[in-house]
């Protein structure tokens, strides 16, 4: 006889019938009825109408029946809070039952009834149960405190349950200790600021003792809790490690991973020359390898964590390549992770075998896996220089298979190999070109186009090849379009005689027929570059590219450290910061690895710049532009009235960024490790502070004194090994200053600060060295003010709205000059904007604008509209002319802007709006 019979009654009037049965006198019948009710509940029927009848069955000495009624209560109490009170009496009574099973059951269930009214009745029974003589009841009560805290935190604090819970850490029974630790950790997690788990050496000792005696799960709770502790010195660290290492032999993978977490963290404290340090390193490898024989899901968790461990301490698993070889019957998620780790472990010593394996995988059938395997071959080539040649020939073999997606992946990685080893493997280009027609994925097409453009001089029919792509230009993805544009420009610079038509075609396609602003912008930049100065263009477009770095997709170090402290958790599986799992805004504790004793690792940010901003002298040789300008049918005659446009050769950096969207990631890698990409690159924060800058300008011109836009965080600590920088720009007495607050959020002392500005749109450069009193100890913050000047090299930044307009230098233009200039600027550079809801008359507007050095040159009235003609000049020498239409009674103004560099129009407009509305 099985329980399934309870599921079979589905006739009408069932509820009514059940009601009758529940109220039956016969115990057996009652029990049967409750089972039927639970069965209905299980299949999702609403049986809440039976609440009073079921609760009536609660007072029984039949444990099974009691459990079923409790189960029912947990499910429906929330929907029937008033009736749930009916059950309170029985609960309270059960908490004093002579049978510990029933006491525990009652206190466990009461905690699960999330009804406010019940909680107050829960306090007394809970207090008793926490002091119960039976450990089974105590361990259940300990968890109940966490439940209650979740419902009503204040109540738990007021009742002093937290202290009782802390006392339970010293309980004689290891299971009680484990549950108390679990409950406290849970509470501490949701209230990061409560100083609940103040771990001291005494409690540590208790926990470590309990660790040897409690169940596997209890061991995990305790280990996870230990991981939050920061030892005082290396000796304490070592003694904890010694007591935790036996856990590595536990049969439960979760215990092993939690132990690994503790060891990985505490190892940081150990001096590297200590014998024990080496022993520990050796002890870690075998258990990690054994995890790979666990169930596939556990293998997956282990592999994701091994990926982190390998990045942090590659030495642990460097000899274990073999165990990561993919097996035919591994699930796909395990296969992909193993591949990742294989690449990370690849070295000169094992590369031959690894390559053989990868080649094997590349002929499998699972498309995703094969693709990743092909990519892995490319990464090996980049990582292990000695193997590059073999990798390339393996890739060529794979291309010969003509399997479409294999060929495409291969071409993508070969492009990377070219970037790493220029002028070495170009002999394969012919083979690549044969497969041009089969490429249908944007990434592969873009890579192929890049190769053709880069090596145009060695490919006889480069122009034909590129032209063939041009036919369907508008159907291509942006990636391909951008790459094609760049490639054709490169081709033109290399073989100008035959490819004029082609370059004109692509420029017009990019600038005139495209809606994509990125493409248009890049098109214009090339166009202008080519038309003004082909030598500079050559220097920019064909500049030597930085080599791409060996290790790709490494996790950013601060994040890595944090993830190491969370080994085994979801965060470490997703490789996302733990804060990503916290709902709402309550604070998160960032765990960081403790600094190693004695040797303060050089984590100081002296490598402020990414080191890639190769300074090239701004060589402007405008005289040769004419020829080219003619070629391109451009009017190059510089207007007499305005200065030369800021098209200097100093655009090196920006232009390099432009050399192919597909290369962006490579560039990122080439520019050094991410944390070093410091704020002077400023591209990220500045876009946000653009308005602030304009506000600032307003303030400067006004008598009320200078206004200082609030500081924004430029560099979060997470991204720079604990160095946080927030700052803003202000102007004091005509000098632009950068005000920064530098905070050391790392565990170790920082020294040796330096700052370097990347080239930016305004030629902003520091006027003196940065003065930071060093060392900067942990948690200390200092205010730094750095005077800036604008004599640095000017560089156009992407995106262009980073242009910060500093309207300082003022030149009056005479009326005639204004008109001439206005006419001189081509009409396509004119842009119109509306400023809405502005209630100023034209004079007031004019005055206001003058305060930020926008000067009104002429004024006239047409059809009741005041027309103001204004001019301004930016610090970087860009002129802008404006016509402001003000109609009496109409709050909407119209601004027409004309400027040689139409890119700045938007910014100028924004400053107009900001000023006029202020």
């Amino acid at each position: 006889m099985t329980d399934s019979k309870y599921f079979t009654t589905t006739k009408k009037g069932e509820i009514f019938e059940l009601k009758a049965e529940l109220n039956s006198d016969k115990k057996e019948k009652k029990k049967e009825a409750v089972k039927k009710v639970i069965a209905s509940m299980t299949v999702g029927k609403d049986v809440s109408a039976l609440f009073p009848d079921v609760v009536n069955c609660m007072q029984t000495d039949n444990l099974e029946l009691k459990k079923l009624v409790y189960l029912y209560l947990m499910n429906y109490a929330k929907s029937q809070p008033d009736m749930a009170i009916m059950a309170v009496n029985t609960f309270v009574k059960d908490c004093e039952d002579p049978n510990p099973l029933i006491r525990a059951l009652a206190v466990r269930t009461m905690g699960c009834i999330r009804v406010d009214k019940i909680t107050e009745y829960l306090c007394e029974p809970l207090r008793k149960c926490l002091k119960d003589e039976d450990p089974y009841v105590r361990k259940t009560a300990a968890v109940c405190v966490a439940k209650l805290h979740d419902i009503n935190a204040q109540l738990v604090e007021d009742q002093g349950f937290l202290d009782t819970l802390k006392d339970l850490i010293s309980d004689s029974n290891p299971m009680v200790v484990a549950n108390a630790v679990a409950a406290l950790s849970e509470i501490a997690e949701s209230h990061p600021n409560s100083n609940l788990m103040d771990l001291n050496p005494q409690t540590m000792n208790k926990l470590l003792t309990a660790l040897n005696e409690c169940t596997e799960w209890g061991q995990i709770f305790i280990l996870d809790c230990l991981a939050n502790y920061t030892p005082r010195d290396d000796r304490e660290s070592q003694s904890i490690c010694e007591r935790v290492t036996p856990r590595l032999s536990h049969a439960n993978s979760a215990v092993v991973l939690s132990a690994v977490k503790v060891l990985m963290k505490f190892m940081e404290m150990l001096p590297k020359d200590l014998d024990y340090y080496g022993t520990l390193l050796k002890k870690l490898a075998p258990p990690l390898v054994t995890l790979l024989s666990a169930e596939p899901e556990l293998q997956y968790v282990a592999l994701r964590n091994i990926n982190l461990i390998v990045q942090r301490r590659p030495e642990i698993l460097k000899h274990e390549m073999k165990v990561f070889y993919v097996k035919y019957n591994d699930p796909i998620y395990v296969k992909l992770e193993k591949l990742d780790i294989m690449i990370r472990l690849a070295s000169q010593a094992n590369i031959a075998q690894v390559l053989a394996e990868l080649k094997e995988y590349a002929t499998e059938v699972d498309v995703d896996f094969v693709r990743k395997a092909v990519r892995a071959i490319g990464r090996c080539a980049i990582k292990v220089e000695q193997s590059a040649e073999r990798c390339v020939s393996t890739l060529l073999d794979l291309i010969q298979t003509k399997v479409n997606y294999v060929v495409q992946e291969a071409i993508v990685v070969i492009k990377d190999i070219f970037r790493k080893y220029p002028n070495k493997y170009e002999s394969v280009i012919a083979t690549l070109c044969e497969n041009l027609d089969s490429l249908d994925e944007p990434e592969a097409r873009a890579a192929m186009i890049w190769i053709v453009g880069e090596y145009a001089e060695r490919i006889d029919n480069a122009d034909e090849l590129l032209e063939s792509f041009l036919e369907g230009f508008h159907d291509e993805s942006t990636q391909v379009q951008l790459q094609l544009l760049t490639a054709i420009v490169k081709l033109f610079l290399k073989k100008p005689t035959e490819t004029q038509e082609l370059v004109q075609q692509v420029l017009s396609l990019a600038t005139q027929d495209s809606d994509n602003p990125d493409l248009r912008d890049r098109g214009y930049i090339y166009w202008r570059l080519l038309s003004t100065d082909p030598v500079a263009a050559k220097e920019v477009v064909l500049a030597e590219k930085p080599l791409i770095s060996e290790e790709t997709d490494l996790i950013e170090p601060t994040l890595l450290e944090e993830l190491i402290c969370h080994i085994g958790t979801l965060a470490s599986v997703y490789h996302k910061p733990p804060s990503a799992f916290v709902e709402g805004n309550h604070g998160v504790q960032h765990k960081g690895l403790p600094g190693s004793a004695g040797s303060a690792e050089s984590e100081s940010p002296d490598a402020v710049s990414a080191g890639a901003a190769t300074e090239a002298p701004a060589a402007v040789i405008p005289s040769q532009g004419d020829l080219l300008g003619d070629l391109l049918n451009l009017d190059l005659t510089p207007p007499a009235t305005t200065g030369p446009l800021p098209h200097s050769g100093g655009m090196q950096m920006g232009a390099m960024d432009l050399l192919g969207g597909g290369l962006d990631s490579l560039m990122g890698a080439g520019f050094g490790a991410p944390p070093a990409a410091m704020p002077p690159a400023f591209s990220a924060p500045v876009s946000g502070s653009l308005y602030d800058l304009f506000d600032l300008d307003n303030g400067v011109g006004m008598p009320l004194g200078s206004f200082c836009p609030p500081k924004t965080v430029w560099l979060p600590a997470m991204k720079a090994k604990g160095l946080e920088i927030s700052g803003t720009f202000v102007r004091h007495a005509g000098v632009i200053q950068m005000e920064m607050t530098i905070t050391n959020k790392a565990m170790s002392v920082m020294t040796g600060f330096a700052i370097q500005f990347n080239r930016n749109s305004f030629g902003l450069a520091p006027a003196g060295p940065i003065q930071v009193p060093s060392p900067l100890s942990p948690n200390q913050n200092i205010e730094v003010s750095l005077p800036l000047n604008t004599v640095g090299p000017v560089m156009k930044m992407e995106p262009l709205n980073n242009l910060q307009v500093k309207k300082t230098l003022v030149v009056f233009l005479f009326r005639q000059v204004f008109l001439a200039t206005w006419k001189d600027i081509p009409n396509e550079n004119e842009s119109q904007f509306q400023i809405k809801d502005c209630h100023l008359n034209s004079d007031a507007a004019s005055n206001k604008l003058q305060s930020i050095n926008i000067f009104t040159i002429a004024e006239r009235t047409v059809d009741g509209q005041d027309m103001l003609y204004q001019s301004m000049k930016l610090t970087n020498g860009i002129w802008a002319l404006a016509e402001l239409k003000v109609q009496a009674g109409n709050p909407n103004y119209t601004v027409s802007l004309k400027c040689r560099a139409p890119e700045v129009s938007q910014c100028v407009f924004q400053s107009y709006e900001a000023v006029l509305k202020n």
Binding site: D3, S4, I38, T42, L63, K67, L71, N99, L101, R108, G111, C112, Y136, K139, V143, A146, K147, P174, M175, N179, A183, S185, E186, E189, E213, T215, E216, W217, D224, P246, S249, H250, A251, A254, L257, S258, E295, P296, E297, L298, Y300, V301, K322, Y325, K327, Y328, N329, P331, I332, Y333, E360, E364, V365, G568, T569, L570, S572, V573, Y574, V582
Partner: protein, 424 residues
């Protein structure tokens, strides 16, 4: 920290039974699970973690069931998967088979177990032998057990109850070594290791203290004192009854065993042993006409030993037909649903060599589907023999009543994950 709720779903994603432990994730979220899983499956990106918004599903599959846990916190993922597998283990011990029917047939006990196994997302007692002492399938028994205080649940020895009695006190020790081998198509051994396991069947009264002694070779290797002819155990895992700290300090394996069957310890040895059964294969595929297979199997172990129930599985194309076989010994059979030829040899003495030839027809129309390259797999069992040379020297059994108990030891070596890649 861990789990918000646990669900048992059928293959269509219908909830069979569930338990809400924390109430911080809407129980209706589970409705998103199956569609998401199907979507991932279609994209070929199946993954043990599925997320929907800030809810994360961690799941495993067992026969026709999905066991799914939900959470919206940064849970300990390894703990969750361990727990889900533990759930399978406990249910299987209770119901023999864990499948849709057994869940329905025993829903009352399932609820009781879910209540006992986990509290507020923290796993509690998960030892099925202990659970069976106070959660039973028949209510009638429960009345008797009712008054019993579950001391074992919270004892330091949480895996063995007191008062166990046997007429004859015996321990059966099985030393089982599984050989994992991965051989490349060109015949080079890519990886090989031994996964060993010592299993106990304990039939002892009272609370006996046991001490297991292994041969010196093994123990020396563990301490790293002798680098000579030793068995280098890469990693050893013990049942929770073994005192780990004692083992760490003096290498003594001492414990109070759980009653009945259990795995006392497992170990991994990473040695380059010769693959015990070596396979050479030539698979020639003539498109549109036929496939010819020649497989040679050689026993590379002691002449005195015999491998039993040897099974060599050779992949064939899915569109192959009209099989013909010739074997020097044993039987060859075509298993079309697995696209394999299975060659079985009941008894395979060491040092011997056998041959199997197979011939298949291929249709004239080429199969368009790309096929993978499954490896040849081999299964076997060699009794009275361990590759590593591990031996049980003694098993000391001390109980306060002072009874005499007999230990029995058996050795067996078997195939684990034994794969040989092929060229085609």
């Amino acid at each position: 920290m861990s789990v918000s709720a646990v669900f048992v779903l059928d293959l269509k994603g219908k909830v069979l039974i569930c338990r809400n432990y924390k109430g911080d994730v809407d129980m209706a979220e589970i409705d998103h699970f199956m569609p998401l899983l199907m979507q991932h499956e279609e994209e070929g990106l199946i993954c043990p973690v599925v997320s929907h918004g800030n809810v994360h599903f961690m799941w495993i599959k067992h026969s026709n069931l999905f066991l799914v846990s939900t959470t919206n916190k940064n849970s300990n993922a390894s703990l969750v998967y361990s727990f889900l597998y533990k759930l399978v283990e406990v249910f299987t011990e209770y119901f023999k088979e864990l499948e849709e029917e057994s869940i329905q047939d025993n829903f009352v006990v399932v609820y009781e177990l879910l209540d006992e196994l986990m509290d507020f997302g923290f796993p509690q007692t998960t030892d099925s032998k202990i659970l069976q002492e106070y959660i039973t399938q028949e209510g009638a028994k429960l009345e008797v057990a009712k008054s019993k205080v579950p001391t074992t649940v919270t004892n330091a020895v949480s895996w063995r109850s007191e008062g166990i009695k046997y007429k004859k006190n015996e321990v059966f020790i099985d030393v089982i070594e599984s050989i994992n081998v991965l051989v490349n198509a060109n015949g080079s051994v890519m990886s090989s290791d031994i996964v060993g396991s010592i299993k106990l069947k304990t039939m002892l009264s009272g609370m006996p203290e046991l001490r297991l002694g292994l041969n010196d070779r093994v123990l020396f290797a563990l301490t790293g004192r002798d680098k000579g002819k030793t068995v280098v155990m890469e990693d050893v895992k013990f049942h929770q009854c073994v005192r780990l700290s004692r083992f760490e300090s003096d290498r003594t394996i001492s414990f109070i065993p759980p009653d009945g069957e259990s795995e006392l310890m497992s170990y991994r040895i990473n040695t380059h042993v010769k693959p015990l059964i070596w396979i050479e294969s030539v698979i020639e595929k003539f498109s549109h006409s036929r496939v010819e297979i020649m497989v040679k199997a050689k026993g590379q172990f002691k002449k005195q030993s015999v491998a039993n129930n040897v099974e060599v599985r050779v992949p064939v194309p899915s569109d192959a037909d009209s099989p013909k076989f010739k074997t020097s010994t044993g039987n060859a059979k075509y298993v079309p649903e697995k696209n394999q030829v299975v060659w079985t040899i009941k008894s395979f003495p060491g040092g011997k060599e056998f041959l199997m030839r197979a011939h298949f027809g291929l249709p004239s129309v080429e199969n368009e589907e790309l096929e993978g390259k499954p490896p040849i797999t081999v299964k076997f069992e060699i009794p009275y023999f361990t590759v590593s040379g591990i031996q049980v020297r003694y098993m000391k059994i001390i109980e306060k009543s002072g009874y005499q108990a007999l230990p029995w030891v058996r050795y067996i070596t078997q195939s684990g994950d034994y794969q040989l890649r092929t060229n085609t």
